[in-house]
Amino acid sequence: MKKFIAGLTLAAVSTFAWTINGTGATFPYPVYKKWISAFYNATGNRVNYTGTGSGTGIKEVAQRHVDFGGSDKPLSPRVLKIAKLYQFPTVVGGIVLGYNIPGVHHLKLSEAAIKGIVLGTIKYWDNPVIVKYNPDEKLPHKKIIFVHRSDKSGTTFNFTYYLSKMCPTWRKYYGARKLINWPTDAQGRGIAGKGNFGVSAAIKTNPYSIGYVDYADALKNHLEMATIQGSDGKFYAPTPKNFSEGAKFAGFDPKKDFYKVIAYPKHGYPIIAATFILIPQEKVNKDKEVTTFFNWAYKNGDKMASSLGYIPLPSNVKAMIRKYWEEKGVAPLN
């Protein structure tokens, strides 16, 4: 009853309570969910977001079935123009290399080691390239099992984008895709899991395996995470501090609709990526409600994001986004 009355008063306070609907990327779903309920408690406005996948998010908003779409994969300015959409980032996440080698807890991987593992040229854990930076660990002569996603996913896209930037051979033969025929599969050393959850489970249940997972999921599943070499040659542990260090050097550009897959910044942890929101250009009134929600989240949601393992956008990027909204005429309400 109390709740009901509280609800009534809330409804009375904000007489023009509104509802917006969105769908798309599953990766930011936990933080959006948290923001949505906090936003509802604070303002009485409803936001519905369902995690259906980036592809669906793009399709649905392109066909104007929803008020906003979420996508882990940014659309290029050219595509945005064709589809008549605006785009802005909301939050950054890190992708980590989770591993399971009995007895090894502080694995360090150089760029050469990561290249060798994904391309399948390094087949055993005791390969000198890996041992070089792990002199104190007892790396066994066991085959490396590489775990990847079995479903099409933005995480795979971001990870392969990072590989493309780091490794010319990868760029030449594979590129950045949501679904890849991994070279390790052909060697019989690859297995796949459905979703981040499936990959985490596969790593946990198969000794001598390694795979890429979102930081938030790796944290939840208590995976061992490798410390990896950044583009400046230094080694970075997968910690929120190193992720934000990377996000600072992201180089978002409002002129390009923030189009930036920010994997591989100059400094900081190298595999990080933002997730994006797409809004239809012509639905100005609904767009304003969408930006109101995200503006509120930029102001009040950083702690919620960090507690879930995401990295909030740096304040200069937030300022750029607010300016972008104003220029496009979709500035937040009041």
Partner: protein, 321 residues
Amino acid sequence: MEKIFKTLSQLSASTILLILSAIFVVLYIEAKPAIEKYGLHFLVDPRWGVTVQKNNTPNVANNTANSEVGGINVEDDDVLAAIGALSPSEEQKSDVVYGGLVPIVGTILSTLIAMTFAVPIAMGIAIFLAEIAPPSISKPVGIAIELLAAIPSIIYGMWGLFYFGPFIAKIFGGSSVNLLVAGLVLGVMIIPFMASLTRDSMKTTPNVLKESAYAMGATKFEVIKDVIFPYAKKGIVGSMILALGRALGETMAVAFVIGGVFNFPHKLTDPTVSIPVVLANNFAESSGLSLAALFYLALILFVISFIVISFAKFYFLRDKK
């Protein structure tokens, strides 16, 4: 009254045919772009989502094909196709090849493993419950089996992923998600189904028949073999067909444990994929040609189930006259 009743039941029966043909038609229409492009070669092509340049050098070095970002080959086609803005010039630079052989083989193999594992066990359970066990045992066990049949498949999937898979990997080697695990989990899923249906049909054998056989001096084994099985044959085969259908189309549980790798299994403990798993994994994120290829796969699954089931029906249930 009689007439209304007759038409009503006729109507409900015809909806089945209607739904069946509607599904077929929709699958065909959606799959058409892929059917036109790949034809029947789709059935024997093991490549899935492999980029091929127009001059047919396989796979590699199509740097200019897709939209480039700082020299990186980024796949943008599906997004453009999703919003219907793919310009024809872009379509022609490179080709993506989809072939269904790996998932087709994976589906058939996993179903075969499941049936080989499940049929003898299910028959054993049914015989025990129907003929051998006293009611004080057969009742609770029977209820337990029916409960097992009602467990949602996702639960089997999680169990397979976290406990059964690692257990099998310890015994047979290999990784914790593979063809064998998928087959066995499928088998476990269809056992209760088959067992309870078989038991029910065995129970329909009239006591007079059994008693006269015993009176002739037949042993229990002989009664089961020569009286009950022939009598309940239709029901038993029917239960197997239903179980087979379920095994062919099972998605969630298999998606968790089959491994999801587009590779032929060289041994039982290799990961591979099956048709329903490919559909579940890629449907949400696909568009354009890759979506059509998925529909083509769905159509193939539809046809496979249709052929297998009608063959089983025809072969086992034809009336011997």
